[in-house]
């Protein structure tokens, strides 16, 4: 494909077919020309794939063929719909009927009833507070969301470039190249939109583009790179964008290349994301085939190509300088900044590095105008942010909300609250570099600056909800353990300081802590922040400091009362046998590895706390529920 008119013809044809999927949430203004009566969309993201969606797709294809309905309905696999807790998810258009927890056994009924007779399968429709939800936009989960980064996820087939073109894909790129838009005009639009990096630190994206464009390269070579090394445990928004809408990232990188004067792009992606890697490979080859990547794109004389580089499981490679060292093929150790990547990045050339979600916003901004983007969000944080909602929350999944939405809206309205009658205790944002937000601050608007002000950070968007059964000292310890594992070892403060911090926390959770230890912890945290080489070490104390700020009483309980209020820290637990419930069956005594339980047959037993190793074997073996821990 070489001309705009060819592209327009293809777009119009695809729009007509996709008009079948028109909804108020995702308007496709075209006359429906689709020959199929229905499109059956099945989520093929990682979450639903884990709950068996590939088998459902296979069963659907088979069943449709067997019933002679394969010309009536088309099965389309899509990226993540966001509601991972309800997977596998299926949506059938034109009704937009939203089926959750679909199994292979449900397929014949769906085909016989919905596809053959047009009757919705009531029992599979999602239920909310006892009410049936017919379509996705009706659900409480979607109502408060605004989708920009995820706009195509769950709407189009990510393996079909034509569907991306049908929803307006590659318009921005081809318009820029054929109209020969001034690169500075593109950079200004990104700058004016107020978009800030979605990977964590929140640096102005437009300014970064400007720095790279202005930087001098001795041989004229510059690079564009995409950080898809999403390492925060519990964050999966970048993966979902790549699985559901890979072309939006490719298109944005190509535009970035044109704007800053680069001809080669790299995507550094975790090898742990096999589905995303597959979709990207497919997308890159389709994009090359249609001429959106390669030499002389759309006859403009501009060359650009993209190569994938697979990470190999190192969290520190999400740090920009470490990422580039890794692309160069070395141990992924960070290097001191300055020089910043915009000046000296990959192979010492100016390099523009943005993360996946940041790129996913670019074409939306260029197609809809920066003014529209800048109108969303708060004074200093514009647009929307995607969060991966996980932990003790009813609706686990991906949510996208305008900046400035309160934590309460995300947790109570969209997330459906904490399940099993437990109480919301804290939300953790920013992963191992972030902090915990206590329940008392649930009305905090979520944006870069207000999170920073309460000792947490936006990070890449992991949002883990914790209830009253989670111990905050244990959580701080968990993150430090992660950091110790992932510290590259190059600088001493991070390599040794995090280990010492961890030892002190262990001392506290084991019941040997003193109040001086808490002071030492705070002092050590300050040293780490001040003297570590890269962001990994500098931010490693955040989980400790924020829990110390907001949950100091819990630390004090561990140290002074030798008690873990949440009942998590094993060494502080006390096992007791209720003499009224104990039948004296001797099972616990026989299974106790420390011989800490004594008692006569058919008489209540007693635990010797001095001998008890708190393994819990007695509770597991007691048939009468007579043993409790507190």
């Amino acid at each position: 494909m070489k001309t705009i008119s060819e592209l327009t013809a293809l777009r119009e044809e695809m729009q007509g077919r996709l008009a079948l999927r028109h909804t108020s949430d995702f308007p496709i203004e075209a006359t429906n020309t689709e020959t199929y009566q229905r499109h059956i969309l099945v989520c093929a993201g990682t979450g639903c794939t884990s709950s068996n969606s590939p088998a459902i797709i296979e069963a659907l294809d088979k069943e449709l063929k067997a019933k002679g309905l394969d010309k009536t309905a088309k099965v389309v696999h899509t990226g993540c719909f966001g509601l991972c807790a309800l997977g596998p998810i299926m949506v059938i258009y034109p009704e937009g009927a939203f089926y959750s927890h679909v199994t292979v056994e449900d397929v014949p009924e769906i085909v016989d009833s919905h596809i053959a007779k047009g009757q919705l399968v009531e029992r599979l429709l999602h239920k909310e507070d006892g009410n049936t939800v017919h379509t996705l936009p009706e659900s409480r989960f979607y109502k408060n969301q605004m989708r920009i980064g995820l706009r195509h996820c769950g709407v189009i087939n990510p393996d079909d470039i034509n569907e991306y073109i049908g929803v307006g894909g590659y318009t921005a790129l081809t318009r820029i190249l054929t109209e020969k838009t001034e690169p500075q005009a593109i950079i200004d639009a990104v700058k004016n939109s107020g978009l800030r990096g979605r990977g964590g630190a929140g640096f102005s994206t437009g300014t970064k583009w400007q720095f790279t464009a202005d930087a001098q390269s001795e041989d004229g070579v510059k690079y564009v790179a995409c950080n898809a090394d999403e390492g925060d445990p519990g964050a999966f928004m970048d993966r979902s964008v790549l699985e559901g809408d890979p072309h939006s990232v490719l298109e944005a990188m190509t535009i970035a290349g044109y704007a800053v004067g680069a001809h080669q792009g790299y995507i550094y992606i975790r090898a742990e994301y096999p589905i995303a890697v597959d979709r990207l490979n497919t997308a890159i080859s389709q994009s090359r085939e249609l001429g959106f990547l390669g030499k002389d794109i759309f006859g403009s004389g501009f060359d650009f190509d993209i190569e994938l580089r697979l990470g190999a499981g190192a969290f520190v490679c999400g740090e920009e300088t470490a990422l580039m060292t890794s692309i160069e093929g070395h141990r992924g150790e960070p290097r001191p900044r300055p020089p910043f990547p915009a000046v000296k990045g990959l192979w010492q050339r100016p390099t523009l590095l943005n993360n996946v979600e940041t790129y996913a916003n670019i074409t939306w901004i260029l197609n809809n105008g920066w003014e529209k983007f800048a109108a969303i969000g708060t004074a200093k944080s514009k647009g929307t942010k995607v969060f991966a909602l996980g932990g003790k929350i009813t609706n686990t999944g991906l949510v996208e909300v305008p900046m400035g939405t309160t934590l309460r809206t995300i947790i109570e309205d969209i997330g459906g609250g904490v399940p099993n009658g437990h109480k919301f205790k804290a939300a953790q944002t920013g992963g191992p570099s972030g902090g915990c937000i206590p329940a008392s601050l649930i009305d905090t608007p979520i944006d870069y600056d207000s999170l920073m002000a309460i000792g947490s950070m936006m990070g890449s968007g992991g949002l883990i909800v914790m209830d009253d059964t989670n111990c905050m000292v244990d959580i701080a310890k968990f993150f430090l353990e992660f950091i110790i594992d992932e510290s590259c070892g190059k600088c001493t403060p991070c390599r040794i300081g995090t280990k010492r911090l961890y030892d002190l926390l262990c001392k506290i959770t084991e019941g040997n802590g003193t109040l001086e230890d808490i002071d030492t912890i705070e002092e050590l945290c300050q040293h780490l922040q001040a003297s570590s080489l890269c962001a990994l070490g500098q931010s490693a104390p955040n989980p400790v400091l924020s829990t110390l700020t907001h949950f100091r009483d819990e630390y004090i309980a561990h140290v002074v009362e030798k008690r873990c209020p949440a009942g998590v820290c094993k060494n502080l637990l006390k096992f007791t046998i209720d003499p009224d419930k104990c039948r004296g069956c001797t099972l616990c005594a026989r299974n106790c590895p420390a011989q800490a339980i004594s008692g006569q047959l058919r008489a209540p037993h007693v635990i010797d706390h001095a001998k008890c190793v708190k393994c819990g074997a007695c509770i597991e073996n007691c048939k009468f529920g007579a043993i409790s821990r507190s």
Binding site: S51, C84, A312, H330, G390, K392
Partner: protein
């Protein structure tokens, strides 16, 4: 995690070695080739024994120390062979707050090995991994490609029994 020199003798086949030579040939002279070649080698041999690292160093004409440095840096590269059934338990935050720690303890107890280890008969290897992205199913583990979600410690015994 233990990622030291393996005690199991090298038993690569000539076919595997030929395959590796082809990969090295294809990447030779490219900037940043060490990682893609190591990734391909791990795919071919299942792990990265010393012998394979030497072949890569000589083939790409880079110091062995550099190959070893890269191989030992990244968690995904293993110098120990993996079991017939590879168990990966997710220890991401979402799984951890939902009790993945108890699941790990149960797996270690039932298998008699620690995370990063392999059973003596070579049947099971156990790894604690970072987020596999199935947070909706937390806590979750994978045995080869099969995903097990919403786990409780008492399910571990029966699941392992299926593979005995």
């Amino acid at each position: 995690m233990p990622n030291c020199k393996t005690v199991i003798a090298y038993h690569g086949t000539p076919q595997q070695e030929d395959e590796l030579k082809k990969v090295i040939e294809a990447h030779k002279g490219q900037a940043g080739a060490t990682m893609p070649v190591l990734q391909a080698a791990q795919e071919i041999f299942g792990y990265l024994p010393e012998e394979v690292q030497i072949m890569i160093a000589e083939g790409l004409d880079v110091p062995l120390s550099e190959v070893y440095g890269v191989a030992s840096f990244y968690a995904q590269f293993s110098m120990n062979p993996k079991g017939k059934y590879q168990i990966s338990l997710c220890l991401g935050t979402a799984c951890y707050v939902k009790g993945a720690g108890d699941i790990l303890e149960e797996l270690e107890k039932k298998l008699g090995i620690k995370a990063g280890g392999i059973t003596l008969d070579g049947k099971f290897s156990l790894d604690a991994c970072r987020c596999i992205g199935a947070c909706g199913l937390a806590p979750v583990m994978m045995i080869n490609d099969q995903v097990y979600g919403r786990l409780t410690p008492d399910q571990i015994g029966p699941i392992l029994a299926k593979y005995q």
